[in-house]
Symmetry: C2
Subunit: 268 residues, 2 copies
């Protein structure tokens, strides 16, 4: 399996694993975003991962191209956060390589990234003064000489995906370790997902529903993990409330990619 | 969407659609063959479809390569029948083009195909005197000067996938027409699948369980279609008995590929 295939397999395995409280999985859809939307993105992004594996690819333009190729269906952008993690990982091979990619980003990467951001329907926190729909933001990025790594650092306190860029892919690493610890196959993915959810407030939930809901979700996941609560009722409650831990899912995808590269077996 | 992507989308959409009585779908696995095995094959076959879309590809060696690339996991070969239909369709573009591909096959295509066949765990009818595990068969093919189209004609009376090669992809065409008639999205796929199952005895079931079981399955599907029986109990009964209409699934994949090329919308 080459890097591009590993990245696609990670996307496919994450969405196929279940139960994953609150998220689309093979047992649950949201009305507008369904299993096949996630799988379509997994298929259609391939040429971008191929380009990332080849020579000369730039992280900003590759993220933009990934969003453009997967933005055509009614499910909206399903994998923006995952691409932010996977593309440096495919470019660099592993976490160490991805950190070199992050360190090497420039202003053009930042500008390309903002163009991609404008193409998605990803929720932007109200405190952002770099408005992605505002062409002046791009001018501001150039003026301040911000690299893509700077942009991520700027968002890191309120976005756990961006934070991965600033702290050496800490949760990605932890997710890969959890997968190794849980053993082979999809049960390990569901287990690692729940472990992360039980210990980190999901910043996607935070932006959508506020910090209190993100923290309550984390505490509920911890209760499920301790055996004090049924996972299926927790899942149903999350789905009902539209509480989907999208950032933990993104990190899980990155963790699967890393674990696959370290010999973790998806095929239980 | 290029041809290769359309073929992958067809494979992904078929396995994601539900309920599909007796087959793996997003709600059902078999113990050894699970949703993620089908989706892994969908991802890993990509370079073969890319080669089929480019110049100079030969149908026999492409089928062999597709089997080799997707044979590595414990789920066994999930898509051998689908590749027999998709590869001429991708090579030729549409049904008309696929018929030209079929007409142009030669003895080397037949030899390559037999090598692929030997790599799969696909059930071979006991009446086959061309034993795929017997190197003498390949010698026999060369001696008799059989093309791959001849091989398919030889199997056509007991294999509905091979039969597609001999009759202008008749059921593939019908499946595409059914998809157009049913409308957009995955409900149309489940509908077209049931329509085919209700009118054709599945030859995969026939080889595994005998003609009587294949015909009974067809009659049950017709009863479900008339509203005389619940699809979920029929599905459960098929799964319980290991009665999986794998050939109808292969033809459904080919039908989705054709329909997508004619503008059918997967994204309801």
């Amino acid at each position: 399996m080459n890097r591009a295939e590993r990245a696609q397999m990670a996307m496919m395995l994450e969405v196929s694993a279940y139960p994953k409280p609150g998220n689309v999985d093979r047992c649950h859809d949201y009305a507008d975003t369904r299993l096949e939307h996630f799988l379509a993105s997994t298929i259609l992004v391939r040429p971008v991962f191929d380009a990332a594996e080849g020579p000369g690819g730039r992280v900003g333009s590759l993220i933009r191209e990934a969003v453009m190729r997967t933005n055509g269906h009614s499910g909206g952008n399903t994998h923006f956060g995952a691409f932010i993690l996977l593309i440096p990982l495919v470019l660099g091979g592993d976490i160490e390589g991805a950190q070199r990619v992050v360190a090497g980003t420039d202003v053009e990467d930042a500008v390309e990234f903002y163009t991609a951001f404008g193409l998605t329907r990803v929720r932007v926190g109200e405190s952002d003064d770099l408005d992605v729909n505002d062409p002046a933001s791009i001018a501001a990025i150039r003026e301040r000489g911000m690299t893509l790594a700077d942009i991520m650092a700027y968002s890191a306190d309120r976005d756990m995906v961006a934070r991965e860029w600033t702290n050496g892919f800490r949760l990605t690493r932890r997710c890969a370790d959890l997968l190794h610890a849980h053993g082979r196959g999809r049960e390990a993915i569901a287990g690692a997902f729940l472990d992360l959810l039980a210990t980190e407030p999901d910043t996607f939930i935070m932006k959508k529903h506020g910090a209190a809901v993100a923290e309550r979700t984390m505490r509920c996941a911890a209760e499920v993990r301790r055996g004090g609560r049924d996972i299926r009722s927790f899942d149903a409650e999350c789905i009902e409330g539209g509480i989907n831990p999208g950032s933990v899912a993104d990190i899980t995808i990155a963790g699967i990619y890393v674990a696959l590269g370290e010999g973790w077996q998806w095929d239980s």
